[in-house]
């Protein structure tokens, strides 16, 4: 029996009742995203500065 699929109708009916949750894994994933972004963004500004000299 597909246990998750089976519950779909029930989840959609009760999705408004919110519960307690702790999600440390997702927080770490999000931080990894933000750090990757910062690195890439900085590298791009650096590349721009290398091409276009401001004197």
């Amino acid at each position: 029996m597909p246990e998750n699929e089976e519950k779909a109708a029930e989840v959609f009916a009760h999705e408004h009742e919110e519960e307690e949750h702790k999600t440390p894994g997702t927080v770490v994933l999000t931080l990894a995203l933000l750090i990757s972004f910062a690195v890439y963004y900085f590298a791009n500004w650096k590349a721009l500065a290398d091409v276009w000299h401001v004197r």
């Binding site: 029996m1 597909p2 246990e3 998750n4 699929e5 089976e6 519950k7 779909a8 109708a9 029930e10 989840v11 959609f12 009760h14 999705e15 408004h16 919110e18 519960e19 949750h21 702790k22 999600t23 440390p24 894994g25 997702t26 770490v28 994933l29 999000t30 995203l33 990757s36 972004f37 890439y40 963004y41 791009n44 500004w45 590349a47 721009l48 091409v51």
Partner: protein, 533 residues
């Protein structure tokens, strides 16, 4: 009572409800044996038709994709210039417009009927929409392949295609608009007939946001395409090129936001189906969808960052302050979707360490792996490159280079298309009521496609960083008087792109073959739940 599906009722629709329930007429709904959700049989017919046509477009666009990718790979350089540009035009339209729109109209029908326990508003409108979309798509494809529309997907004026090209696009757009109207009609009758209690589920809310943006998008489409169509028939003397670009991106960019909304809704839906996850905070998730509606339009300015026709302050306002609010919405979903999965998995006892929940997730379920890989590719590659490219100063480095296709193949392909593939692994058993064959292959397919797209996307992005242009047949400039100027680094990256493209194509073809085999020859699912993934 006429049955909505082509196949005789006695054979297939065995769990049809013969009494009228909710606002469904007698014999026109069934209860899904797997999910317990109600299914309107009229909606089911059109979800099937739209899915089939979507997959046909995906196949057409996919074959073109392989050929143009093998042309951009200098070591292969397959096609001649005419066919390179022709098939690039063909690829863009079949993928970005036809595959995506057919799927999205199907998703709108699904969300408004099944999740709200309603019947579809109008069967006549659904037919009108479908017929117009198919006719338009065929017209566009025939015109391109006949060599009468080598204008690229953007068809920037003053490039001029045969009038049938614009007419086809207008037909597809109007057909889609009728489908969207049918969705709103269904929302209306569901509310009127009180087929659901409380407010609508989040997936429906997301679909509604997508539909609202779609209306604005398609109005821009009409505004720009109708005059251009008249111009192509020499009825109008001239279409201003700057005006065209500005309004065209009201269509081109916003349609991408329709895709993002649809994709996020599919994420929430697949998260529920595959892990039992439920949204963590309704107000936050819904607020994020509202941010899309409010700020997306302005962000279309990021396509005009080097356009001489608009001023610097206009560009900066639209692409920084306004765009960040739309980006914020994506970041909210990018956080709440995995968080809802984490919560659901932890509740089932997968609590070990930071990532025990993720390791224990159903990675062998292609519905889950496609959804989660889509989330990672969209966030980590699409999101990061997108925000960077959308910065005015940086855009000057990247404009018209392969960095641009590198970016959007990680959003609309690694993100949206992969999520839609994941959805298909449920649509086929639940709506077509057929089992997939070769389930081992199906489990691998999302990984294959994801790996291919990631390699291709990175190859394009870094080749673009070396300055390799997009939409360019021959970066070696064979026979030219001056040196080509692209070093070995760029060539390595183009090779990476080529290898990735081949892997992605194999993944795409695997998906199509599996899905076609299942839809037409798969084992029927009657009076029983689908075999779980």
């Amino acid at each position: 009572m006429a049955n909505a599906v082509a196949i005789p009722a006695s054979h297939e629709e065995s769990e049809v409800i013969t009494k009228p329930v909710g606002n469904h007429a007698a014999g026109n709904s069934r209860t899904c044996d797997t999910t317990g959700l109600p299914v309107c049989l009229t909606a089911q017919l059109f979800i099937r038709l739209n899915a089939v046509l979507g997959v046909v477009a995906l196949l057409a666009g996919g074959i073109a994709a392989l050929l143009i990718a093998l042309t951009r790979w200098p070591a292969v350089h397959l096609l001649d210039p005419v066919w390179y540009y022709r098939l690039t035009t063909f690829h863009g339209l079949n993928m970005l417009i036809f595959w995506i729109l057919f799927m999205e109209v199907g998703i709108l029908y699904f969300a408004s009927t099944t999740l709200l326990n309603s019947r579809l508003f109008s069967k006549g409108m659904a037919w009108a929409s479908f017929v117009m979309m198919v006719a338009g798509a065929v017209l566009v494809d025939v015109t391109i392949l006949g060599g009468k529309a080598d204008v690229m997907m953007t068809s920037y004026v003053p490039l001029k295609a045969h009038s049938n090209f614009y007419l086809g696009i207008i037909l597809v757009a109007v057909g889609t608009l009728i489908g969207v109207a049918n969705f709103f009609g269904t929302l209306y009758i569901a509310k009127r007939d009180k087929t659901y209690a409380g407010s609508v589920p989040l997936v429906v809310f997301g679909a509604t946001a997508a539909a609202i943006i779609a209306v604005v998008t398609l109005l821009h489409g009409a505004l720009v395409m109708i005059p251009t169509w008249l111009w192509s028939m020499d009825i109008l003397k001239e279409v201003d090129a700057g005006w065209y670009r500005l309004v065209w991106w009201g269509l081109g960019h916003q349609s991408q936001q329709v895709n993002v909304c649809a994709m996020v809704s599919v994420w929430y839906f697949l998260a529920t189906l595959t892990t039992g996850a439920k949204p963590l905070n309704q107000a936050v998730c819904r607020g994020a969808f509202v941010l899309y509606i409010l700020f997306i339009n302005l962000a279309s300015a990021h396509h005009l960052l080097v356009d001489p026709g608009v001023g610097a302050s206009w560009k900066i306002w639209n692409t920084s302050y306004a765009m960040y609010l739309a980006v914020l919405a994506s970041m909210i979903h990018g956080f709440t979707v995995p968080a809802s999965v984490e919560t659901a998995m932890r509740k089932k006892g997968h609590n070990r360490g930071l990532f025990g929940w993720l390791a224990a997730a159903p990675w062998k379920n292609p519905g889950f792996s496609a959804f989660f890989l889509s989330l990672l590719i969209f966030g980590f590659i699409g999101g990061i490159t997108g925000v960077t490219l959308g910065t005015q100063q940086i855009n000057i480095l990247a404009h018209n280079t392969l960095r641009i296709p590198g970016h959007f193949h990680s959003t609309v392909v690694g993100g949206t298309s992969l999520a839609f593939m994941g959805l298909a692994y449920y649509v086929v058993p639940l709506i077509f009521k057929r089992e997939y064959y070769a389930r081992g292959l199906a489990r691998v397919q999302p990984y294959l496609f994801a790996v291919g797209i990631v390699l291709m996307s990175l190859g394009m992005s870094f080749a673009g960083s070396y300055g390799v242009p997009r939409r360019h047949w021959d970066i070696e400039f064979t026979g030219a008087q001056f040196a080509p100027g692209f070093g070995s680094g760029a060539h390595v990256m183009l090779g990476l792109m080529g290898v990735g493209a081949v892997i992605a194509f194999v993944g795409l073809l695997t998906f199509i073959l599996l899905t076609v085999a299942a839809v037409f020859f798969g084992k029927k699912i009657e009076n029983r739940a689908m075999t779980p993934w």
